[in-house]
């Protein structure tokens, strides 16, 4: 990884936050003045370094953690937008990354009931729900979509 990879990564994250969605490969290449092939190679290096996650079948962004590029059961209202998070941890990560309060809407995998909570001044309200991590930390990236 070099400075150009870091610049690509930071550009993707900045545009994700600005757009409220993942920037497409063609947009990223255009904005950075890169050939599409070069932008794709760069995104693949970022994927391999776990700096973001590409779709398995095409060079488009699936995750720029904590943000998800696809709808998930974890929806977050923050900074005047609606976002999707990759998991419960990332749901809290979106207000954290944006530096704002937020509201998290999720669903209990056991009973299907809605989980609604606010993040205010970096604290959950109410603080009654729990978070379960199934996969040991050293294996988180073996199947990040499952994790």
């Amino acid at each position: 990884m070099d400075q150009s990879d870091l610049a690509l990564r930071n550009h993707v994250y900045r545009r994700f936050a600005e757009l409220g969605r993942a920037p497409e490969l063609a947009e990223t290449a255009d904005e950075l003045g890169l050939l599409a092939e070069r932008a794709e190679a760069g995104l693949r290096r970022l994927h391999d370094a776990h700096w973001l996650v590409l779709e398995s079948d095409r060079p488009e962004i699936r995750m720029a953690n904590p943000f998800s590029a696809v709808p998930t059961p974890h929806r977050v209202e923050a900074g005047g937008r609606t976002w999707y998070a990759n998991c419960g941890w990332d749901a809290f990560g979106i207000p954290a990354a944006l530096g704002v309060d937020g509201h998290i809407s999720s669903t209990c995998p056991d009973c299907g009931e809605a989980i609604e909570l606010d993040v205010i001044d970096r604290r959950p309200k109410p603080n009654r729900d729990v978070f379960h991590v199934l996969v040991p930390a050293r294996s988180w990236w073996e199947d990040i979509v499952f994790t």
Binding site: N10, Y13, N65, G93, L98, D110, H132, V135, R138
Partner: protein
């Protein structure tokens, strides 16, 4: 990594899906972890953390032991 209504809901979900239990933490701890882990993701001067730095975040929140070891 999933949010549940309570530890009882976690236990039932694990049992019904025949999953080996992992670790359960409170929403408060998770929120602290998220701020420490993701808080600088959009910073213009973002740099990747070392594994040791990431492990130190988990340690500081009491997420210790074999399960929480990143490597």
């Amino acid at each position: 990594m999933r949010l549940f209504r309570s530890e009882e809901h976690v236990a039932r979900w694990l049992r019904e899906n025949r999953y080996e239990p992992g670790r359960t933490v409170t929403a408060g701890t998770l929120c602290e972890l998220a701020h420490a882990w993701w808080g600088n993701r959009l910073a213009p001067d973002w740099r990747p953390r070392t594994r040791e730095e990431s492990q130190a975040i988990l340690d500081r929140l009491g997420l210790t032991g074999e399960f929480w070891q990143l490597a």
